[in-house]
């Protein structure tokens, strides 16, 4: 079955025809060419496909595209403004919050959601916020540091 949906993606309004079984991840990647959310498990266990849906972190592999009619979605492509990187992106670069990089988009999205809720999170809160984002390189310590520094810089 086909569905007509309208939603805001990275600040831009879009309309699209999607199939019932299509996931949000698939539509973002294949139809809209937004490849920052990554395919990692398709079962919501790894967080590589995280996006913000109305300000909340979701695994886009677990959301049907037909459900996002009217929603506001943010991917990493929408983080930087014009020519300036988002403070989180800058901080991840400066503090080695990235190794192979495959989990990086999901980490940034979870971090963004956290900073939207709490302007200056404790280490414990950051660990908790990232628990659904797997990083096989084990870069968690530097990712946490990157988020801490970014949150301080924002103030």
């Amino acid at each position: 079955m086909k569905h007509e949906i309208r939603f805001i993606i990275n600040g831009e309004s879009r309309s699209l025809t999607v199939l019932s079984q299509q996931t949000l991840l698939e539509v973002l990647r294949e139809d809209l060419g937004l490849t920052s959310p990554k395919h990692g498990c398709s079962t919501g266990e790894c967080g590589a496909c995280s996006v913000l849906l109305n300000g909340e972190v979701v695994n886009s592999c677990m959301v049907l595209a037909a459900e996002v009619d009217g929603a506001d979605i943010l991917t990493v492509e929408g983080l930087a403004t014009d020519d300036e990187l988002h403070p989180l992106q800058k901080s991840f670069i400066d503090h080695h919050g990235v190794q192979c990089g495959y989990c990086a988009s999901g980490m940034l999205i979870s971090a963004k959601a956290l900073l939207n809720r709490t302007s200056r999170p404790h280490e414990e809160e950051i660990r908790e916020a990232l628990v659904g984002n797997l990083c096989r390189c084990g870069a968690y310590a530097d990712i946490i540091k990157s988020i801490q520094v970014a949150s301080r810089a924002r103030r």
Partner: protein
């Protein structure tokens, strides 16, 4: 005044790819060539460990609308292997393990490919299989490869196929019988380590396209494109120049994307389609059950020592379950044999390493090359021995430690190393002054240590070996269009290779970083028979870079020297300008490249290729051994004596990297390896049921999350220069894994008095050991 710009070696240097990775621009396997015309491949995997099989309804699958090609082992019957061709491209009639590919399909959409695959009915007739080291080595076990001796390359291995020994290496020094005769104490133990998974976040995949000339171009995110080119060519009976592999960033490899797993099938199916690109991207379940596992280990260690703490002899047997293929694990065997004594200079040594075939998924080395598992055994063994001798384990280690000048192997004399410093610094970082071992009950009474809390440590040494026939080759081009363009044969798998290349060139040529572009790794840039090193790249690529930059600098300076009429020894490059220390003349390199100089009308361009390839002196086990990297771990843990639950309060890791060329990057690598090691030690085990993997997602095969991090991490960089290494540096990525597991196990012992000798250390294992200990103690009372 002419002054050289600040040293960029040993200073923080940004990872070149970081910005692209953090803006979502970096292309990974699943991002390649997204276009609606693309075809999609799926693989049918065997679901039985060893069975005769029949594929029914193949015509229905072939004729399913939207299917473009379907291949079985009857269509392409090739054998794969680098050293020994002990794997089939696709099984024919008999499947050797669950996860072996039986058919591959290409279709218009992923859904159609899946539907067509589901139409194929596979009938199995189970055959006798062997599913563990014990089974494989027991008399009368079915031979996994009865026809082994007919395989290409079989003669290169030391195999006993009828006993399921795929390859064996031995190292003998002195006379162990005499060594044990001299010993006052002899300790014998068995240790095991589970099968693991590489589990990169990016699953295997890529895109392949048949070209009009019959060649195939592959966009793949693999660690060793040159090795893959050679293996794929061999499997498909093609010449290597017909296969071109272009490699982008790799979303994690950890050894799992070195050897060919599904890549040859992608090439095969692309060659049987109409020239459209074909994408293959494994699901997470397929990644777990159809690619590679990391070998499981069973180690038997016998060690003898004098009462004064001198270790007189070691006899160690390391058996590795390599599944149904040894080809990828050969290098691993060499590493574990060289590391087999642990970092101790023991006069009488017998180390034997066996690769054992089973009817399980083929094994490929995991980051650490098995050396971490060797230390799991040795470093617990030494701690237990120390307790028997009533010494501190640190003292026993120090007594027997390998030292600079020790002639350890026929071609290898040990260099200066930071082994001892690593140990002392790691222990110090967790605030521990090791005292004489006492039973855990007394520990509990110690005011400085809380009940259920214990500290332990372990040392580590890992050989840096270069692969036979492999080298590193670098081309630097300097011209007006591209400024400084660099072609390398190594791949950035997240370790920061491209940053390293940029850093060295920027330093050696003294030019701005912004001028330098490192091209994506592409086999087409090299001769068809070139085999590139794929690990220990700091060493091999570092040497190639130093040669290339030296030659490039000479080319540029002699060009200018000739025009200026000065000896080349007057000239230097400083901050992007050629300068003469004698005549004080200056010429910006950019204007040289733009306008040329002197009589010469056209601007010059420069190009240099340099290669580093170690010589294999005599094919002996140590002839490609470059150095040993040392590490130490110290852990402070808390164990709940009722439940066996474990918390790592502190974990310290010290690594001697020779010279930290990019210190923050080194620390990041150490911290990452610490977390990964905790994951391997406490959480990970690939579980099979009747030979079929059942750990096929992150629920059943958990890897460390932020919730599993030690409460405090102490990464420590030790720098004892390696004279033969680039800038005195040594590689670190494999080595920083070594020592975590035994340090944690030793800490558990000191916390609650139980030894866990099987990896992973689960709460259940600790609980069971505690129960057993209580039962033993009450029996004594």
């Amino acid at each position: 005044m002419i002054s050289r710009k600040p040293h960029v070696i040993g200073k923080p240097f940004p990872l070149i790819e970081a910005q692209r990775k953090l803006t979502g621009v970096t292309c990974y396997a699943g991002d390649e060539k997204i276009n609606p015309d693309m075809l999609h491949a799926r693989i049918l995997f065997s679901e039985r460990p060893r069975a005769r099989f029949w594929l029914r309804n193949l015509d229905a699958a072939r004729n399913h609308p939207g299917v473009v090609a379907l291949l079985t082992g009857r269509d392409v019957d090739g054998r794969m292997g680098h050293t020994v061709a002990d794997r089939k491209l696709l099984a024919v009639d008999e499947a050797l393990y669950a996860g072996q590919p039986l058919a591959v399909i290409a279709a218009e959409t992923p859904e159609i490919a899946a539907e067509a695959l589901a139409l194929i009915q596979v009938d199995y007739e189970d055959l006798p299989a062997t599913l563990s080291i014990e089974e494989s080595l027991s008399p009368g076990a079915p031979a996994v490869h009865p026809d082994f001796m007919s395989y290409r390359g079989a003669e290169k291995l030391n195999a006993e196929p009828e006993r399921n020994i795929a390859h064996a290496l031995t190292f003998v020094r002195g006379d162990v019988d005499q060594g044990f005769a001299e010993a006052d104490v002899i300790l014998e133990r068995t240790y095991t380590a589970a099968h693991l998974q590489h589990a990169p976040m990016e699953t295997h995949g890529g895109v392949a396209q048949r070209q009009p000339d019959g060649s195939v171009t592959m966009w793949m995110h693999v660690q060793a494109p040159f090795l893959q080119r050679s293996i794929i060519a061999g499997a498909l009976g093609m010449s290597p120049e017909k296969i071109r592999i272009i490699t982008g960033c790799v979303g994690g490899s950890f050894g799992g994307k070195v050897f060919v797993s599904i890549e040859a099938l992608l090439a095969a199916i692309a060659l049987h389609t109409d020239g459209r690109p074909v994408r293959l991207l494994l699901t997470r379940e397929e990644e777990f059950k159809g690619v590679f596992m990391a070998p499981a280990m069973r180690a038997h260690i016998k060690m003898g020592a004098k009462q004064d703490g001198r270790i007189t002899a070691i006899e160690a047997t390391y058996d590795w379950d390599v599944g149904a293929s040894v080809d990828a694990a050969i290098f691993h065997l060499q590493a574990v044999t060289l590391a087999g004594t642990g970092p101790y200079a023991i006069p009488n040594v017998s180390v034997r390493t066996n690769a054992v075939y089973t009817n399980l998924l083929p094994a490929a080395p995991l980051r650490g090359l098995g050396v971490a598992q060797v230390h799991w055994a040795i470093e617990q063994h030494v701690a237990e021995l120390a307790e028997i001798l009533n010494m501190t384990a640190l003292n026993l280690r120090q007594w027997n430690l390998v030292k600079g000048g020790d002639h350890l192997f026929p071609n290898f004399v040990m260099h200066a190393s930071g082994l001892e410093s690593c140990g002392v610094l790691a222990v110090d970082a967790i605030g521990w002054r090791p005292e004489t071992p006492r039973p855990a009950e007394e520990n509990a009474a110690d005011a400085s240590v809380r009940p259920g809390v214990g500290r332990g440590m372990a040392l580590g040494w890992s050989p840096i070996i270069l692969s036979d026939q492999c080298g590193s080759s670098v081309t630097i081009r300097f011209d007006r269009e591209r400024l400084c363009d660099v072609v390398v044969d190594g791949v950035d798998i997240g370790q920061g290779l491209y940053a390293f290349v940029t850093q060295v060139i920027s330093f050696e040529l003294n030019i701005p970083v912004e001028w330098i572009t490192v091209e994506p790794t592409d086999t087409a840039n090299y001769a068809p028979d070139w085999e590139a090193s794929y690990h220990n790249l700091l060493w091999s690529m570092g040497h190639a870079l130093l040669r290339a930059t030296g030659e490039m600098k000479k080319q540029i300076l002699s060009y200018v020297a000739k025009v200026w009429g000065e000896p080349i020894s007057n000239l230097d490059i400083v901050d992007g300008e050629v300068v003469s220390y004698a005549s004080r003349r200056k010429l910006p390199l950019l204007s040289l490249l733009e306008e040329g100089m002197g009589e010469e009308k056209s601007p010059p361009s420069f190009s240099v290729t340099a290669t580093y390839r170690p010589s294999n002196v005599d094919g002996s086990i140590d002839s490609l051994l470059q150095s040993f990297a040392s590490t130490a771990y110290a852990a402070e843990v808390q164990v709940n004596p009722e439940t066996g639950d474990l918390t790592i309060l502190q974990l310290a890791a010290a690594a001697d990297v020779g010279h930290a060329l990019n210190p923050e990057s080194v620390r990041a690598q150490i911290k990452g390896a610490m977390i990964q090691s905790v994951s391997f030690t406490l959480l990970e085990e690939m579980v099979f049921e009747n030979g079929v993997p059942i750990s096929t997602d992150f629920m059943k095969y958990p890897i460390a999350t932020t919730a599993d991090m030690p409460l405090q991490l102490h990464p420590i960089v030790v720098e004892v220069p390696q004279r033969s290494g680039p800038y005195g540096a040594r590689d670190l990525s494999h080595h920083v894994q070594v020592g975590a597991a035994p340090a944690i196990a030793n800490a558990i012992y000191r916390a609650v008095g139980v030894r866990i000798r099987d990896l992973p250390i689960t709460a259940q294992r600790i609980y069971d050991a505690l129960q057993e200990k209580r039962a033993r103690e009450s029996a004594v009372r």
